[in-house]
């Protein structure tokens, strides 16, 4: 099987080689310079309608949730809400977990740029001595958020369990999660400028 695959690859290689590639002359090469870069604008939505892990229950009372149900509504609210993405990290062999929970929302931006640039002047006199290439991330002038949210928490297990539910409903009374804080973001944030990245030695 492998030898046949090798034969096929060789054939393909031969087929492409027939296009007769000519080497570029030195002066043609010297005309080529890295130009342009990338300009991105877009909108993306994360877990706006909930993720695959949990579906939205009918009530905010955790004791009534069945297997696969979870609401991430703010404490005190009576309207259930979908839950976003969950990211859990454990930094100690026998310890608990740091959790970024309920990450969701719609983000849109216009004009995120990525390109390289030579810096050999400016920067209040620092540029001339620097004289190197940098990678330039141009921030979009405005980032719009709609129902963006996340929560920072600590927990004794990486995966979420319903500590208030009955065992029959997938509950686990030993599960402990403490939300340190959570945040919600709506509206637009002005974010302008460039982030210049370069190797340091």
């Amino acid at each position: 099987m492998i030898s046949r695959l090798g034969l096929l690859l060789c054939t393909l290689l031969t087929a492409t080689a027939q296009a007769e590639l000519h080497p570029l002359a030195d002066d043609s090469l010297s005309d080529v310079s890295g130009q342009g870069g990338v300009y991105l604008s877009g909108e993306f939505s994360i877990n706006k309608e909930g993720g695959p892990l949990w579906s939205k229950p009918a009530s905010t009372n955790a004791a009534t949730w069945t297997v696969g149900e979870r609401s991430c509504a703010t404490k005190g609210s009576t309207t259930p809400e979908n839950c976003g993405m969950r990211l859990a990290v454990r930094s100690e062999a026998a310890g608990g977990w740091y959790v970024l929970d309920n990450i969701k929302g719609i983000f849109s931006f216009e004009g995120l740029t990525l390109r390289t640039r030579v810096i050999n002047s400016g920067f209040a006199g620092d540029g001339a001595g620097f004289n190197r290439d940098v990678l330039e991330f141009g921030l979009p002038n405005e980032v719009k958020f709609k129902d963006g949210s996340f929560a920072f928490a600590v927990a004794n297990q990486g995966g979420w369990r319903n500590s208030a539910g009955t065992v029959a409903n997938g509950g686990d009374a030993s599960y402990q999660q403490t939300n340190i804080f959570s945040a919600k973001i709506d509206g637009s944030i002005r974010m302008q400028g460039n982030v210049l990245v370069f190797p340091k030695n």
């Binding site: 492998i2 030898s3 695959l5 090798g6 690859l9 060789c10 290689l13 703010t74 404490k75 005190g76 454990r90 930094s91 100690e92 062999a93 026998a94 310890g95 608990g96 977990w97 740091y98 810096i119 920067f123 209040a124 620092d126 540029g127 001595g129 620097f130 940098v134 330039e136 921030l139 929560a151 600590v154 927990a155 004794n156 297990q157 599960y175 402990q176 999660q177 403490t178 340190i180 804080f181 959570s182 945040a183 919600k184 973001i185 709506d186 509206g187 637009s188 944030i189 002005r190 974010m191 302008q192 400028g193 460039n194 982030v195 210049l196 990245v197 370069f198 190797p199 340091k200 030695n201």
Partner: protein, 346 residues
């Protein structure tokens, strides 16, 4: 598999034309674990048009106390508390923000007496996030016109930033408590966070230094334009003014007292600075560890050259007149022998 080999050989011949030359030993020895530098060019952040709410902080009855984040901005110095925002370039090409991966024995920290000392243990790979560095020679004033904060910052006057944020605590229906913070001419040179794995503890440990140099810092307890907070005099009466203030907060001494940020196995947060002598079995070892710790562990300093409640500044950056002047306040040379803070569910 054998028939793939000619193909690979063919490909390697094609690429060999680029003529790679092997590094000799002398060149190899110059290669060190280095990282990436970051410079923020013409940066401006303004979240004035957005609604940011922080939840899950509860009162004594377990009810959520929403905190609205308002008037968040970051821009060039001289912004007049965010009223006149301009972009700022912070971090210098020669002294940038950096993300490094280095050996513990190669990292150095600046001691208060100006000596650079090793604080991280040997034979560990350390991930380090640093702010623009402090310099041994040729530095700039960390706070303009205040020599007490030192002249070893790499950031120049134009690279300092103004930033501010206002928190509105919706304590109860109809009552909102406000904390409005505005910082002028901020530099954070010499701050760093270092993280590595401690195999004996089987966890991630670290050490951190947070340096804050600010020409002015103002904390106001009301929102401009609201009841009893409309005139300049009413606003000033609810303001705490700090002038020429700096803090060097040192958390952890990697060799014997690393900073431990734990989550316990029952899901509670623990911040710990262990006893540097823990685990030393003999008196000689305890003595040598203690003298090493006292000689080299970075200290925490908090200095406020002028603290004033109420009153008004005659011009930007000048200590206010009027109100109550609490003069100069300092905490110097604070060293943590042991610290352990644990969260508990209420």
């Amino acid at each position: 598999m054998r028939s793939l080999l000619p193909l690979l050989a063919l490909l390697s011949v094609a690429s060999a034309r680029a003529e790679m030359v092997a590094l000799d030993d002398g060149e190899m020895s110059k290669v060190q674990g280095a990282g990436f530098g970051f410079v923020l060019e013409n940066i401006l952040l303004d979240a004035g048009q957005s609604t940011i709410t922080i939840n899950d902080i509860t009162n004594g009855s377990g009810q959520n106390v929403p905190i609205s984040v308002k008037e968040f901005y970051l821009g060039a110095a001289g912004s007049n508390k965010g009223a006149n925002l301009n972009p700022v370039t912070t971090g210098r090409l020669a002294h940038p923000f950096a993300l490094n991966l280095a050996k513990g024995e190669d990292l150095r920290s600046l001691r208060d007496d100006g000596q650079w000392v090793q604080t991280t243990p040997n034979n560990v790979a350390v991930l380090e996030l640093t702010f623009p560095e402090r310099l041994s020679t040729g530095g700039n004033a960390c706070i303009a016109g205040f020599a007490g904060a030192g002249n070893n910052c790499s950031s120049r006057a134009a690279e300092k930033i103004d930033m501010g944020v206002r928190f509105d605590f919706q304590v109860a229906a109809g009552r909102t408590d406000v904390i409005n913070i505005d910082i002028g001419e901020l530099a954070m040179d010499g701050s760093y966070l270092r993280l590595w794995g401690d195999s004996a503890r089987a966890q991630m440990v670290g050490e951190a230094r947070l340096n804050i140099f600010a020409k002015t810092l103002e904390i106001t307890s009301c929102a401009s334009g609201t009841l009893n907070c409309t005139s300049a005099a009413e606003l000033a009466a609810r303001t705490i003014y700090l002038t020429n203030s700096y803090a060097n907060v040192a958390l952890g001494y990697g060799k014997t007292q690393p900073l431990l940020l734990d989550v316990t196995s029952n899901g509670q947060f623990v911040l710990e600075l262990p006893n540097p002598l823990a685990g030393a079995s003999t008196a000689a070892e305890r003595n040598s560890r203690a003298s090493e710790f006292y000689a080299n562990a970075p200290r925490t300093n908090v200095v406020v050259d002028n603290l004033n409640f109420g009153g008004a500044r005659s011009s930007a950056g000048v200590a206010p007149t009027g109100g109550y002047n609490f003069g100069s306040n300092e905490i110097r040379g604070l060293s943590f022998n042991y610290l352990k803070a644990t969260s508990h569910d209420l």
